[in-house]
């Protein structure tokens, strides 16, 4: 299979405008599944969280999980949607081994929530309104593991194994209206949109929202149309986009790929594509036709859901502060500047800082650690900061060690490397690596004397009031102590010795 051609990104926009659409599936964190009372748990032994309903055995019937309905209504409200006064479930009929009944119980023309919007703030502060077509309830399928092919891929597999633990887990599918006008910022907007949805459902407490666990999944639809044309171009749908990073890259790739196809005079094929993180490309899946006939009809085994206005208002009253409000409040509480706060949000560490502050650190300290030590490492490792492997708890411990004077900042950085290398807890790493700040003034004073003696002219400058020159002496002391001195203390001692105010 030859790699697809892609056009230079900026060139695409000389002739074309992108139109986007997203279907985001949110896995709810209810205790039980959508239509059965089996546990909704991640990671257990295969086929141990199933009962006869989840397996679709002959004779079984679904019963709706009330908590899932409430979560769905809350999601709808948080997306500024109308909540349907009455809605029904529908059967979406198709054959696939991960679908136990060979139909999915979903909602078709009667979604529980519809006609909403989300205002997305991009990194530079520009706000973009994404309109939400609908949010509806449905159930998840089981998990297929493909065996015998390359890297577990479905292509070339000899057989597949099915685990139905996930079958029946409640999902809410959020569908946007076509998104126009994003222009070159389309990939950025895509990422920001999915991040915003993720943030909302996490904030509502209805989902664990961990993309790496598939709690939030994104299917991205991309099409191009010639600038000024009304009619949309043919779209492709990209699945398996399971990180924010991937959302951005996949949208960008598809724009470039569509551009190349159109420029070569070919037609874009309407199809489902798969995103591959390793090659940063999409490959062709199965042809997607809007004529995929799912033969929808109202689910006869379930009765309508009537969302009385009282019930909806009761639920609305339980909604927590929306993330945008939450952000405003945190910014004020932490005292960051606009730019500092925006950097924190854009880096994706706001929640982590919040947790760290809750554990006792000062906001300024928390920001220093996360922005200074974690964000950079995450970029290098090409993962989201929360996935790197450093938890707020680790930060708290490391910070504690520094504040207690046991280690300095340089050592703290080494400790974090050790945590990431799996060497253990910060305390253990400090011990194992022999990292300890020289805390006894004695050796420090000796080193200071030596440094002052070695640089008498600098010493004079300092005595004369040029305090900035102290850096050279500190440097000398740090060198002599192989970096194991606390720079702040060294500076203090030098000033004391020289009888100068710092």
């Amino acid at each position: 299979m030859s790699a697809d051609e892609i056009l230079d990104y900026d060139s695409v926009f000389e002739k074309y405008e992108p139109v986007l659409g997203f279907e985001v599936h949110v896995e709810l964190n209810t205790k039980t599944k959508m239509f059965s009372s089996a546990p909704n748990e991640f990671g257990d032994e295969p086929n141990t969280n199933v009962n006869e309903v989840d397996l679709g055995l002959p004779g079984v019937l679904p019963v709706v999980n009330k908590a899932a309905v409430e979560s769905s209504i809350k999601i709808g409200l948080a997306l500024n949607c109308q909540i349907a006064e009455t809605c029904r479930f529908a059967r979406k009929n198709y054959f696939y081994p991960d679908t136990p009944k060979n139909f999915q119980t979903s909602q078709y023309d009667e979604p529980i929530a519809f006609d909403g919007y989300l205002d997305i703030e991009l990194e530079d502060g520009e706000v973009f309104r994404v309109e939400i077509e609908r949010a509806h309830m449905e159930e998840d399928a089981g998990k297929l593991t493909h065996m015998g092919g390359a890297a577990g891929r479905i292509q070339g597999a000899d057989y597949s194994l099915v685990d139905y633990n996930r079958a029946g887990v409640p999902l809410v599918e959020i569908v946007t209206k076509p998104i126009e006008g994003a222009g070159k910022r389309a990939p950025e907007l895509a990422k920001a949109y999915v991040a915003a949805v993720r943030e909302i459902v996490k904030n509502l407490g209805v989902s664990d929202a961990r993309m790496e666990r598939g709690n939030v999944r994104c299917d991205a639809n991309v099409s191009l149309k010639p600038i000024g044309q009304e009619k949309f171009g043919t779209r492709s749908e990209t699945k398996n986009v399971n990180s924010l990073r991937a959302v951005e890259h996949a949208v960008r790739f598809e724009i470039q790929r569509h551009g190349a196809v159109l420029e070569s005079g070919e037609k874009v094929v309407q199809e489902t594509r798969h995103w591959h993180e390793d090659t940063r490309t999409t490959t062709s899946g199965r042809p997607k036709s809007d004529a995929d006939d799912y033969r929808y009809f109202p689910e006869p085994d379930l009765v309508p859901v009537v969302a009385s206005r009282e019930w909806v208002e009761e639920l609305r009253a339980t909604l927590p502060e929306p993330p945008a409000e939450h952000r405003k409040r945190l910014k004020a509480a932490w005292g960051y500047s606009d730019l500092e706060f925006r950097d924190v949000v854009n880096a994706g560490v706001m929640d982590l800082i919040e947790e760290t502050v809750a554990a006792g650190l000062k906001p300024s300290a928390a920001r220093k650690w996360w922005m200074g030590e974690v964000v950079g490492r995450a970029k290098v490792a090409e993962v989201d900061p929360g996935e790197l492997g450093i938890t707020p708890d680790v930060i708290v411990q490391v910070n504690g060690l520094v504040e207690a004077g046991k280690i300095n900042n340089k050592m703290a950085s080494e400790v974090l490397d050790g945590v990431l290398a799996g060497e253990g807890t910060p305390e253990e790493i400090v011990a194992a690596r022999g990292l300890a700040v020289v805390s006894d003034d004695g050796p420090l004073l000796e080193a200071i004397d030596a440094a002052l003696a070695a640089q008498p002219d600098v010493a004079e400058k300092i005595r004369g009031g040029k305090v900035q020159a102290i850096g050279a002496i500190v440097g000398g002391v740090m060198k002599a102590t192989r970096g194991q001195a606390d720079a702040g203390r060294v500076r203090e001692l030098i000033l004391e010795k020289l009888g100068v105010e710092g």
Binding site: L55, G56, L57, P58, G59, V63, N93, P97, D293, R295
Partner: protein, 503 residues
């Protein structure tokens, strides 16, 4: 002794068991013996549950001896249509695709039978996946009508009806989607009831048409069905369509025998033309008897019933096509491999379904897939659901004029095996009088109305009541049964040919 036992009604057996005149083991053994004696000819049973049935009977005897409190029907044995899942016995739906399949869970009604300690004699034959009116579409051979072994016992629940009519069981469970309990009752001279939709849990009944299916009682007397109905009915949290009501007073209504002042409505569209003369005669006779007993006979018209059959044969196959999708060789049941070509799961699913499903099942799946497909939904499935509304309105109007409605259960008596099996449309017409009740969700009962003059075969009389008013069925049917048995000098089944060795 066996003859006395097997010819007793369930109510009589319950009385004798309570009085310790009979032991539960004796009762169960007598029925097992009867099954061994006649089922070779009748073929009502797909599986006989010998050991477990006797074990349960023994438990009942021990409990009774110890003075424990037992359900009124404890120790009274029962047969179960092989469409209802049972732990410890196979459930095949009379299909090859489920040959030998053992369910890991019990249907809710089975749990109720177990709680009442009623020994389960075995699983009875049916048209494959309940699709048919003659039991000829079973993958395991047809069941024969005890009145004439060359004739059909009705369908889809021919096995349960034949089992009670041949005295192999005093009680049975059936399912009724378009008449599958009532029509077999009609052609075998027994009693069958379709409860109000939602009155009995469907959890564990292999789904055919979800919005039409109901599990119901099969017996030889109205009182017996009432007693069984009270055991199996009631709200089930596992079935979202089950009603909150509990059903009591049914047995009392059955026993009362009183129809004075009851308004009984003859449905104009469900008798007369298209109905066998002998059926019509027995129907008229019943009307006379009821009138003489003080009932007020009125005529009602339900003009939209004309479209009920057509609408049914759109709604039912549509739901069937979706409900039977799960039979694909992946999780349970038959897996058949394609003879040649690539071995993909899609082809295995195709090969499995081709090998495992019979022709009638395939016919209905294809019909249903078509009726639901894009572009056809509105004209077919969508329209049929509207006809359903019209049928409900007809019933509402009719019940404004009458307390119960009455009709012959089926247009003909039992036809010969093989006579209609190659003519699906002719076969579908057997259900013309029973289908409206399923479409509207209202309850219905069929009781023996006598024998047709021209062939000496049983005719069934059907009563219909408004939704949730199952009690009216038992009152009306109990009264008519009493009147007819007085006329005959005993139950109709006493006139049936004697089967088996002891002639």
């Amino acid at each position: 002794m066996t003859q006395d036992i097997i010819h007793s009604t369930a109510a009589q057996l319950a009385e004798k068991l309570a009085a310790k005149e009979l032991s539960a083991v004796e009762v169960t053994q007598a029925h097992l013996d009867r099954i061994a004696e006649v089922d070779g000819e009748v073929n009502a049973f797909l599986h006989v549950n010998t050991q477990e049935a006797l074990d349960v009977a023994a438990e009942v005897d021990a409990a009774r001896a110890a003075g424990e409190e037992l359900h009124a029907l404890a120790g009274v044995p029962i047969a179960v249509k092989d469409l209802i899942v049972t732990v410890g016995q196979p459930t095949t739906a009379a299909s090859k695709i489920l040959e030998g399949w053992h369910s890991p869970y019990d249907a809710t009604v089975i749990k109720k039978l177990r709680a009442a300690k009623m020994p389960i004699l075995g699983k009875t034959n049916l048209d494959e996946f309940a699709m048919g009116s003659s039991t000829e579409h079973s993958a395991y051979g047809p069941t024969r009508n005890p009145w004439d072994l060359d004739r059909i016992p009705g369908g889809s629940g021919g096995g349960s009806a034949a089992a009670v009519s041949a005295f192999e069981a005093p009680l049975a469970l059936g399912t009724d989607t378009g008449g599958s309990i009532r029509q077999p009752a009609s052609v075998t001279g027994s009693v069958g009831v379709k409860p109000t939709y939602g009155g009995v849990s469907r959890y564990g009944a292999i789904a055919m048409a979800s919005s039409l299916d109901q599990i119901g009682p099969v017996s030889r007397t109205v009182l017996d069905s009432a007693l069984l109905h009270e055991v199996i009915s009631g709200h089930d949290p596992y079935d979202s369509t089950s009603l909150k009501e509990s059903w009591t007073g049914l047995a009392a209504a059955a026993a009362s025998g009183d129809v004075k002042g009851m308004r009984i409505g003859i449905i104009k569209e469900l008798h007369g033309e298209g109905y066998q003369a002998g059926v019509e005669n027995r129907f008229n006779e019943s009307l006379e008897l009821l009138k003489a007993a003080g009932a007020e006979i009125v005529e009602v018209s339900c003009p939209n019933f004309e479209y009920a059959l057509g609408a049914y044969y759109l709604i039912m196959p549509s739901e069937v096509s979706s409900n039977l999708a799960k039979f694909d060789g992946v999780r349970f049941g038959l897996r058949a491999l394609p003879e040649d070509g690539p071995m993909t799961i899609e082809r295995v699913m195709g090969a499995t379904r081709a090998a495992g499903f019979g022709d009638e099942v395939k016919r209905r799946i294809i019909l249903g897939t078509y009726a639901l497909s894009a572009g056809y939904y509105d004209a077919y499935y969508g329209s049929a659901q509207k006809v359903r509304t019209l049928i409900q309105r007809d019933f509402d109007a009719a019940f404004a004029q009458a307390d119960v409605l009455i009709s012959p259960t089926a247009p003909t008596t039992a036809f010969k095996l093989g006579e209609k099996v190659d003519d699906p449309l002719a076969m579908y017409l057997n259900d013309v009088a029973t289908i409206p009740a399923n479409m509207a969700g209202v309850p219905g009962i069929s009781i023996p109305g006598g024998l047709a003059d021209e062939d000496g075969l049983p005719v069934g009389i059907q009563f219909l009541a408004p939704a949730r008013q199952d009690v009216r069925l038992y009152r009306a049917a109990g009264a008519l049964e009493k009147l007819l048995e007085e006329k005959w000098g005993g139950p109709l089944l006493a006139q049936a040919p004697v089967l088996g060795g002891a002639k």
